[in-house]
Structures are given as C-alpha cells and as structure tokens.
C-alpha cells in the first residue's frame, strides 16, 4: 500500500514523463503525432493486402475483423516493445535522483494507452461516417482493454528490468512478439482456430496434433487473444459470444458448448493479474541495482 501511495506522490513526474514520451516519439517527423494513427493503419493495410488480395481470404467483413484485432494488438506489442527502453533510456534520471522506479514502466504504459485512446476515437469517427451501428455493447471494450493492460504491465516490468542488464532482451522480445502476433487472432478469427486440425507430416506436427486439445485451451487463456476477441465481440458482434464461425451455425453452437467462454475469460484474467504481480516483484527486486549496473 505504501508503494502505491509513493507512486501517487510522484504522479507529477509520471505525468511529465508521459507528456514527454508523447512529444518526443514523433519529433522531427513531418506528420508528427499523426504517425500514432498512420503507423497502425499502414500495417493494417499491409496485412489486408497480404490476406485479402494475395491469399484471397473469403471471410466477409475481413477489413473490420482486421482493424478490431489490430488496434488492441498494436497497443500490447508497442507497450512491451517500448518497455525495453523505458529504464535504459532514463539512466540519467535513475542515477541522478530517487523516485519509485515503477513509474518508468507505468509512464510508458500510460503513453501507449493514450495512443490507443486516440486510435479508438478515430475508429469510432470512421464508424460514424460509415454509418455503422454504434451500440451499448461497446462498453465491453473497457474490460477487454483492462485485461490486456494489466497483462502488459507485468510483461513490461519484467522486460524493462532485464533490459537493464542484458541488451539481448530487446531482440528476443522483438522476435517473440513477431511470433505472438500469429498466435493471437489478429489476422484471422477465433472460430477457425478452434475448428482447426493439424495434418501430420513430421514429428513436430505429430506432436502438435497429439496435444491439439490442450494447445487450443492454452491459446484461449492468452489474455491478449481474449482481449482481441473481446474487442471483436463488442464492436462487431453486438456483445455476442465471440467464438464465431458464421458459415456454420450448428458447429458454432457445438464449439460454444465445448469451450465455455466465461471460464476462459476468468482464466485469462487470473493469468493477467498473476503476470502483473510477478513482473512487478521482479522489477522491484532488480530496481535496487539499476543505478549501479546500468
């Protein structure tokens, strides 16, 4: 509790750091803050081009599915990626004065939350222009964001602390996020995964086929995947169970019975909180050594 009080006492430092992060990120670029929108938009364009044009994805409404998945994903990945530098780039401050070190990953998280809010506002504006029905189910975005935020804080804190001691962390994290991107339903929807089968061609696919039911369960417990699914449920499906397989209604009902969604949401939330606590403890233990080792 006293820790929380201390962070609160230093809230102005955090506010200043957040303001600085926002100002500095796109400094010296002509379009400035607009990049916080253009960057994810351009990436969405790339994935859309790949999946829709080159691979000929048949899914109806693919663009909307993609956008709703990409916005929370971009928030998550950017937060974790930024955390690799959130302490190392502030070494001058860390060596100069005492302040609760936790505010460094927190400030980086908050900056990214603001970027997310900005992107979301633009999305809603676009929806208004496209005359998409904006309804009460949109509130589900809030717990979905919370789920990802709590999880991202834990990972960020760990990554931030390790980055002070090992420069490798940055590269490992970048590549792991690249893999993780495909392990969350960003460029595809959830129903396809739960229905998916593995064709056995070698030992690895054999192993995967054998463990497939477990893999699917673990897949569903990923807070990021759950967050993304929550966004889709809120924005596209009017709050309906997000295990969607639109072309096959009977199969959908079967899947929903097989994967009781509430259980997985609860599980993912528990994982989120656990990772957050563990990450925070790791960070706190290591932060005593930041000033002398960095």
């Amino acid at each position: 509790m006293s820790e929380l009080a201390e962070v609160w006492r230093y809230r102005e430092v955090m506010g200043n750091l957040v303001r600085r992060n926002l100002k500095v990120r796109y400094k010296n670029s002509v379009l400035g803050f607009l990049w916080s929108l253009l960057n994810p938009l351009m990436q969405i364009g790339v994935w859309w081009f790949l999946f829709k044009i080159i691979l000929g994805n048949e899914e109806p409404n693919f663009m909307a599915t993609l956008i709703c998945g990409f916005i929370p994903w971009f928030f998550f990945s950017q937060t974790v990626l930024d955390s690799t530098g959130c302490v190392t780039q502030e070494m001058a401050l860390v060596k100069k004065a005492y302040f609760p070190r936790t505010i460094l990953p927190l400030a980086s998280l908050l900056s990214n939350l603001i970027h997310l809010g900005f992107a979301f506002a633009v999305l809603i504006a676009l929806f208004a222009i496209w005359r998409v029905d904006i309804n009460v189910h949109y509130w589900l975005v809030i717990p979905s964001t919370l789920l990802i935020t709590v999880f991202a804080y834990g990972l960020s804190a760990m990554v931030a602390a390790w980055s002070v001691f090992y420069a490798d962390v940055k590269f490992v994290v970048g590549n792991l996020l690249g893999l993780w991107f495909f392990l969350t339903p960003v460029v595809y929807s959830l129903g396809g995964v739960l229905d998916g089968q593995v064709k056995v061609t070698n030992w690895l696919t054999g192993l995967m086929a054998h463990w497939l039911p477990v893999i699917k369960k673990i897949y569903l417990l990923d807070p990021v995947a759950m967050g993304i699914v929550g966004y889709r449920s809120a924005l596209l499906y009017g709050g309906a169970n997000p295990i969607m397989k639109p072309e096959d209604l009977a199969r959908q009902v079967e899947l929903q019975a097989q994967y009781p969604f509430a259980h997985y949401v609860l599980g993912a939330a528990m994982i989120s909180v656990a990772v957050s606590v563990i990450g925070h403890l790791i960070f706190r233990r290591m932060s005593d050594l930041f000033a002398e080792r960095g």
Partner: protein
C-alpha cells in the same frame, strides 16, 4: 536535531571480471565456471551524524567512496549493510543537467527536472522566472536543450537544483561549474544557503572552496573514514598526506629512471 544519520554502512559492489553485456557472454561465463565477480567494498563501516545547518565537506583520493556515499544519501543506491536516515527534502546535485532531455525545450526540462526533485507544477511555475534569471538563459528557454552549449546545460541544471528550497543539499564536484563568473555566483548561492541554515553535504577536490564553505570535513580513504572533525584540521592533514604520496611517487620515479 540531526538530519542525517548514517550507521555502520557498508556498500559492496560486484565488479565483473569482464563486462558481461549479453546473454551469450553470461552463458559462456557460466559454462566456463567463472563466477564473474570480484567483490569490492566501496564503503566500510561508515558512521556519522549531521546536525541541521551543518556544512560538511568530504575529501579523499579517487576511488575512496565519496560519490558512493553521496549516492547512498540521495537514495539512488542502497547500502549493503547498515542504515541511513535523512530527514526533510533532499536535493541531490549529482551529474548536473544529465536528466535533461535533448529534444525538449529548456522550459519543459525545467518542469520535468523540478518534478523529479519533488517540486509540484504550481511551485515550479512560481519559481520559474527566478530559475531562468539565475541561469541567465532568458532568450533560449523555448529552444530544445540539444542546441545548448555544455555550459548552458550545467547552468540550468544548477539553477533548478538550488531553487528547490531543499532542507539538505548534496553536491558532487559542482563547485567548479561554468565560467569564472558563474562559479563565483554559484558559490555565492551556496553561502546564502548556509546562512539560511540549510544542511550542505559536499564532495569536492577544490580544497580551498571546501574550507570556505564547510566547518566540518570527513576524510575518506579506501572506503573508511580516516578523520571526521574541524575542516581546517582535516584539510591540512589531508594536504600533507597528498604531498607525501606525491613525493613518494616522484621518488619512485627518480629511482626507477635510467641513470644519466
């Protein structure tokens, strides 16, 4: 009333035999069975108290633990053993201006830096003009700090720090910052602090300045307190020891020099 209480403080650093900066190096070192560290005591059993309003100078050769001691008092470092209590608002003047962000303007940096040192926005706004005036940087406050000269950055850093109204001022080797004119001015400011009854704790190699500012001095050598008393006496003895050391070095050099 004592404002600083340092009791039996030990500080150990683990100095890597070889700097390990990557996972690969760490794994290789582990496989080779290298423990990788040399343990090194920067401070050994340091005990002293400082009363409110005292000005204390710390002297000692390089590597004697002076900066470590200041880092501990500023709570940037943690002691390995022992306890440190510092009462009131502490303002560390360590590595002046290093906390500034090059892309932000002077004004933005003043607010960031002041908040870091415990001043809120409103207080900073009130003192802003005085800070800028003292640093003599009125014209450039809206330009990014990366366009400043080194002297300008240091002036601004010093000015922010001394305007924070601290109870305890920790100073590391900043008695000689800036040009002649600013050195004079900043030293004058420190004397004012002293008259206001603030506690000053200063590390410096500038022995004359120390003697003028401080009535008490602590002499550190290899992490131990050699002497802690009246500054005149400590500094005189320290000077003698430095001279002796230099003479012995000179003798050794003369001995080892080839004849002729």
């Amino acid at each position: 009333m004592s404002v600083i209480e340092v009791q039996h403080v030990w500080k150990q650093y683990r100095r890597p035999h070889k700097q390990v900066n990557s996972l690969k190096e760490a794994v290789l070192a582990m496989l080779r069975g290298q423990t990788g560290y040399e343990e090194f005591w920067a401070l050994r059993d340091i005990t002293f108290t400082v009363e409110a309003g005292e000005a204390i100078g710390v002297v000692g050769p390089n590597g004697s633990g002076k900066s470590t001691l200041l880092g501990l008092l500023a709570r940037v470092l943690k002691p390995t053993f022992g306890s440190i209590v510092v009462v009131g608002r502490v303002c560390p003047l360590l590595e002046l201006g290093t906390g500034f962000h090059p892309e932000l303007t002077g004004r933005e940096n003043v607010f960031l830096n002041a908040s870091l040192l415990g001043l809120n926005q409103r207080e900073t706004a009130r003192k802003y003009d005085a800070i800028v005036e003292f640093a003599e940087l009125e014209e450039v406050m809206d330009s990014p700090v990366k366009t400043y000269s080194t002297g300008m950055v240091i002036r601004l850093g010093f000015s922010v720090a001394v305007h924070l109204d601290p109870d305890v001022l920790l100073i590391d080797e900043v008695l000689g910052v800036g040009d002649e004119h600013f050195q004079h001015k900043s030293f004058g400011r420190l004397l004012e602090f002293k008259q206001e009854g603030k506690t000053i704790f200063v590390v410096s190699h500038n022995l004359d300045a120390l003697k003028r500012l401080c009535e008490r001095a602590i002499w550190l050598d290899r992490g131990r307190i050699v002497k802690d008393t009246d500054s005149e006496e400590v500094i005189a003895k320290y000077r003698v020891s430095v001279e002796l050391w230099e003479r012995s070095l000179a003798d050794a050099r003369a001995r080892d020099a080839p004849p002729g």
